[in-house]
Amino acid sequence: MESFFIYIAMFLCLLVMLALYRGIIGPTVLDRIISISAIGTKTTIILALMGFIYKRSDMFLDIALAYALLNFIATIAAAKFFRRRKSILPGAKYIKYKGVE
């Protein structure tokens, strides 16, 4: 069963890479925030799986819980920060710099 958990964790790492692609090329800032939130959820699951792989689940589950809390707070803070800001749209900063020049 441990090798099954290792394969599941490797597949989740592959999904993290795919979500990171959207985080890099995402047109708006909000796409990047969703991508980071999805990566955080997957990381929580990977940490819980690692606890069962190394048979230290009581320690790793605390880390997973802390990571889930931090992920939630970071997402809420980013959503509050980017509310009512025009810089959320793609290319907004570029147009502003072009207008300055």
Binding site: I8, R22, I45, D58, F72
Partner: protein, 108 residues
């Protein structure tokens, strides 16, 4: 119980995969949010439930029950927190006037 846990974990991984494909393929911010907000929540809940069931397959000792309760706490927290975060991000996008995607009219 171990087989049931494996079935739950594989189902959760399937939901994670569909959520990630939706995050990559959908055309708009709102549709991407729709894909990843629900798929990730259900996938995380299923995988953590499977882990909590797998933890009990040696027998119902006090330590195993406590670890399973902790896993289910994480699952419950993700089940509450992830839709809240999704709602907050969508509200931020709506306040910034991000245009929803519309299907282009085909010229005949």
């Amino acid at each position: 119980m171990s087989v049931l846990a494996a079935i739950l974990i594989v189902t959760g991984v399937f939901f994670f995969t569909t959520a990630t494909i939706g995050l990559l393929r959908f055309p708009d911010f709102y549709t991407r949010m729709h894909a990843t907000g629900k798929g990730d929540t259900l996938g995380a809940f299923l995988i953590l439930t499977g882990l909590a069931l797998y933890n009990l397959h040696h027998g119902f000792s006090v330590d195993a029950i406590l670890v399973s309760i902790k896993v289910m706490f994480i699952a419950l927290f993700i089940f509450i927190a992830n839709p809240t975060a999704t709602h907050a991000i969508t509200k931020a996008g709506l306040d910034c006037n991000v245009k929803p995607w519309e299907k282009k009219e085909t010229s005949r």
